[in-house]
Amino acid sequence: MQTAQSVFALGKLQTNYTTEVAIANDGFRQLVKEGYDKPVFSSPNVSNQGQSTGSPYATKISKDKDDVTFSGTERGTFQSLGFHAVGAFGVYATPSVVSAGAVWLHTFTLLNPFVSDILPCRPLASKIGEPAVSSNRIFDARFPSMVYSQIAFQAEGEQPDLQIASEWVGSGKRVIPAGVQFYGSGKDVLLDSEITENYIRKTSGVLTLNTAAALGGTDVLPGCDLRDTVIRINENLNLEAGYNGCALFQDDNPDMGAIRGSCRSKGQTVEFETTMVLTPDIVTNFDPVAKLYSGASISMKIVFTGALITGAYYHTATFTLNKAVLSNVELIDIDDGTQGIRLVTEPMAVNDTMPLSLAIQTDVADFNTYVG
């Protein structure tokens, strides 16, 4: 039996889609390899069948569009949450200082597609092979310009802490070998042991019911006990729109297909679902028949808390869901008998009201450059 190994690493944010970042010492973040699937690269051919060649059969095949996808799940830390959020949300405000030199507050919001529809992107380095055999059995590649196609922040099932599940799509360009050194002196990838991050420990929520008359939220219920929560951002990428003006990526090699010169979003959408323990407060203030029904509008804060940073400041991550319409509400049993209420929202698009924002209070100064 052979031993196969794979390691993946994501680099710093690129300045734009067609400009790669220079490979620098410790400029890449190694991913938890068990949680990620190997990148899937495709380079399909198309035949000219059906065109007027005078033959009913294909006389020629040509390269079509190269593509690459990547996906995986990792246990979220406050720092990795910021690392992912800066690319997946798209807008990252100037961080505010909470405690000088120690604690910063970072706010992430979704892209307004009328202002910009291009998400930030990063390079992916991938090394797959049998290191015990010989070096030429190692598949070593770098995929520049990887953009999120979907990301889900989930605390569900047997995983009460936060899991970050992401799916990516690249430009189709690959660089072989990657030119990224994973180990040894002068390495370009931070080792797991070098990354000091703080895991997410507990979840709580604040539910606001938006009355139909004034969508401002009058009934507020702090301290919701949340189970099985999933917040999902679908980037709705327009994958066919990017095949123009790809000067850097244009290649005369007949063995390579076309690659994207940009990757635009048609507009992000947000989905949310959670289960709340049905406390007397919810029954009194949020009567599941009178108020929490399919079609009702809610707002919600989902707060993740972790270890102390310094003084009175803890690591926190707060997702704010703004004016979501419930698509499905049902009363269910949780924890072998406790009554719970399951809320699922309709997908929310970005408009004048930002449907989702994320605020992270942590010890990282700037997520524009952070890798680990």
Binding site: Y17, T94, D140, V180, D366
Partner: protein, 95 residues
């Protein structure tokens, strides 16, 4: 057409693939789309358009200096001139 924006405070803001950084009081020049994005952040005061005369006067100077620098580089180390700066390290270095 370029626009001058003046930072009201220290700015380190990202909008999509556009990262805007400036110190308080610093003047930055951005083209139309970039200026629009930066203005929407609320961190900038509008400082007017860059006049065509200034832009024209600056252009040749920049081109000259850039080409001069490139010439120096090429003369100094002809072997080191790399058309693709993103190539990174050679495969031999990867262990």
């Amino acid at each position: 057409m370029k626009h001058i924006l003046i930072a009201k405070s220290d700015v380190n803001e990202r909008y999509g693939d556009r990262l805007i950084t400036a110190k308080k009081g610093e003047k930055i020049e951005l083209s139309g789309a970039g200026a629009e994005i930066a203005m929407r952040s609320g961190h900038f005061d509008y400082g007017g358009e860059v006049s065509q005369a200034e832009a024209k006067a600056e252009k040749p100077a920049k081109t000259e200096s850039a080409s001069a620098k490139l010439g120096e580089k090429l003369n100094a180390a002809p072997d080191a001139a790399q058309p693709d700066s993103t190539a990174g390290k050679s495969g031999a270095e990867v262990k």
